[in-house]
Amino acid sequence: MSLSRLRNLIIGDAQADRVVPPSGFTAQLTLFVSGAMAFLAVFALALSLASGRLADRWADELARAATLRINAPAEQRAAQTEAALAILDQTPGVASARALSREEQAALLAPWFGAELPLDNLPVPQLIEVIEGEPGYDATGLRLRLQAEVPGAILDDHTRWRAPLVDAAQALRRLAWVSILLIGGATAAMITLAANAALAANAQVIEVLRLVGALDSYIAQAFIRRFTLRALVGASVGIVLGMVGVWLMPEASREGGFLTGLGFQGWTWLLPLLIPLLGAIVAFAATTRAANKRLGDLA
C-alpha cells in the first residue's frame, strides 16, 4: 500500500466517502460486533494476565525449600540431625539439604519472640532446609524412611499441594489466549459477512462507479475505510466498557488469590488499548478480502 493510500485510509476524503451510500444495518452490525468482541477480549486478556501472574507466583513458592523439623531432646538433636542429613543426601530428587545455623533460626524466630531469645535454653526444633530437585523426591517414601530412622523428624512440604493449581493456572492462561484468538476469528467472520452484505446491497452503485471510470481499488477502498473505522470505533467503546468493568473489581489482595487479582496492574492497563487496533486490522483484512473477491466476481 502506498503512502497516499494509507493517508487516504486514515484521513479520508469527504467526497470519496459519499459515493457509497451509508448502509444502516451493516454499519450497526459492525459497530455492535466489534464493540461486544472488544469487551469480551478485555476480560479474556485480564484473565490471561491474572492467571499468568498467579501461576508465576505459585510456581515461585513451589520452587522454594521444604522444611524438615527435628523435634528431639537436646542431647539427641545433633545425632538425629546428622542422621536426617545422611538420609536426605541419599534420597533421589533432593537437590540439597542444609541444617540451619543457630543464628538463622534465631533470626526466623525474632519477629515473634524478640532478638534476645536464648535459644540454647529452649526446646526449639532444629530446622533443615530441603531444596527439591527436578524431578522431585517421593515425599511419602521419604517420610516412611525418616519415621523409621529419625523418629523426631517431621517433613513439612506444605507448598506441594499447590502443584496441580499451578498447572490449572497455566491451563487457564492458555484458555484465555485461545479465547482471544477465537474472538478475533469470530470478529473477522462477522465483518466479512457484513461487508459482503454491504457490497451486495450496493451492486448498482458499484456498476455506476465503474461506468464513470472508477478503479476497483477505489471502490474497494470506500468499503474498506468504512468498515475499518467502524470496527475501530466499536472496539474502542467496547474496551472502555470492559476496562471500567475490570476496574470496578475489588482490589487484589495477597490472600484473596485468584478472583480479586483479576485485574490489570501498572503498565498492563495499556494492553487493552491494543484491542481496537487489532480489531481495525482484522476488519481491514476481512473487508479487503471480501471486496476483492466480490469485485472480481462482479467483473
Partner: protein, 225 residues
C-alpha cells in the same frame, strides 16, 4: 478512434449483430438508427467496452478492447464519455455530485474544479438544479445532466444512447445543439436514436453520417433521410 472490425454479437440466443464494421474517425459525427430491439445499445456497448464481441475485434485508441484488464478498462471509460439510455445516476448524491462523479472517482479534488463545474451546469442549463437529487429531475433535465457528466473529463469521444429519448421537440433540439457544439470543439460523437426528425435537423448543422442496423447488419443510410 474507435473501430469495430467484422464484429458479431449474441447474448446467448441467436446472433444479434454479425459482420459489423465501422470506423469512427476523430472529429466525426455519426448517428446510429434502427428499430427498437435492433441492437443499437448493444453496438454502443461494444464500442466502449461494456460488452466484448463474440467474434471480430473492437479497438479503441489503437488498443484491442478484448485484451484490456479491469484497470485499463477504467481508464478507457475516462476517455470515452457515455450518456446511457437510462442515465445511470447515483440517487443518494446531488445532481452536482453526480456530474462531478467521474472527477471524484479519478481522485481529483472537486473543490478545485468548481469554476469548471459551474460553467458546465450553465452550459446545460441546470445551474438552478445543482442541489436537487436525480429523482427530482424531469426527463429533459436528466438527459442534460447525463450529458454534462459524460463530458466532465473532456473525453475525445462522446457516445450518447437515445439522448432525446423522453423529451419534447424543443428539448431535443436543445440537446442536439449541445452535441453539435461538442463536435465543433473537435470531439468525436456517436448518437443512437430512432428519432429521424432529429437526424434531419442535425444534418443542417453538421456533417453527420447515418448508420442503420437492419437484419443484423450495419448499413450506411442513404439520402432518403
Amino acid at each position: 478512434m474507435i473501430e469495430l472490425d467484422n464484429v458479431g454479437y449474441n447474448y446467448g440466443g441467436g446472433e444479434l449483430l454479425s459482420n459489423v464494421s465501422v470506423k469512427l474517425a476523430p472529429g466525426s459525427f455519426h448517428f446510429l438508427t434502427g428499430p427498437s430491439g435492433a441492437g443499437k445499445t448493444t453496438l454502443l456497448k461494444l464500442c466502449y467496452g461494456a460488452l466484448t464481441p463474440t467474434s471480430g475485434r473492437a479497438r479503441a485508441f489503437n488498443m484491442d478492447i478484448n485484451g484490456l484488464d479491469r484497470d485499463q478498462m477504467a481508464f478507457l471509460r475516462r476517455r470515452v464519455g457515455v450518456v446511457h439510455q437510462d442515465c445511470r445516476f447515483l440517487d443518494h448524491l446531488s445532481v452536482l455530485e453526480n456530474i462531478a462523479l467521474p472527477l471524484t472517482v479519478s481522485g481529483r479534488d472537486i473543490t478545485q474544479e468548481e469554476a469548471n463545474l459551474r460553467e458546465l451546469l450553465t452550459w446545460v442549463g441546470l445551474s438552478e438544479r445543482a442541489h436537487a437529487t436525480p429523482p427530482e429531475l424531469s426527463g429533459g433535465e436528466r438527459q442534460r445532466a447525463a450529458l454534462a457528466r459524460s463530458v466532465i473529463l473532456s473525453p475525445d469521444v462522446i457516445i450518447a444512447d437515445e439522448p432525446t429519448g423522453n423529451v419534447d421537440w424543443e428539448m431535443s433540439q436543445r440537446l442536439l445543439q449541445l452535441l453539435v457544439e461538442l463536435n465543433h470543439m473537435g470531439k468525436t460523437v456517436l448518437v443512437a436514436t430512432h428519432d429521424l426528425s432529429l437526424i434531419r435537423a442535425a444534418k443542417k448543422q453538421v456533417q453527420a453520417r447515418v448508420l442503420r442496423i437492419s437484419n443484423r447488419q450495419l448499413q450506411q443510410a442513404g439520402a432518403d433521410l
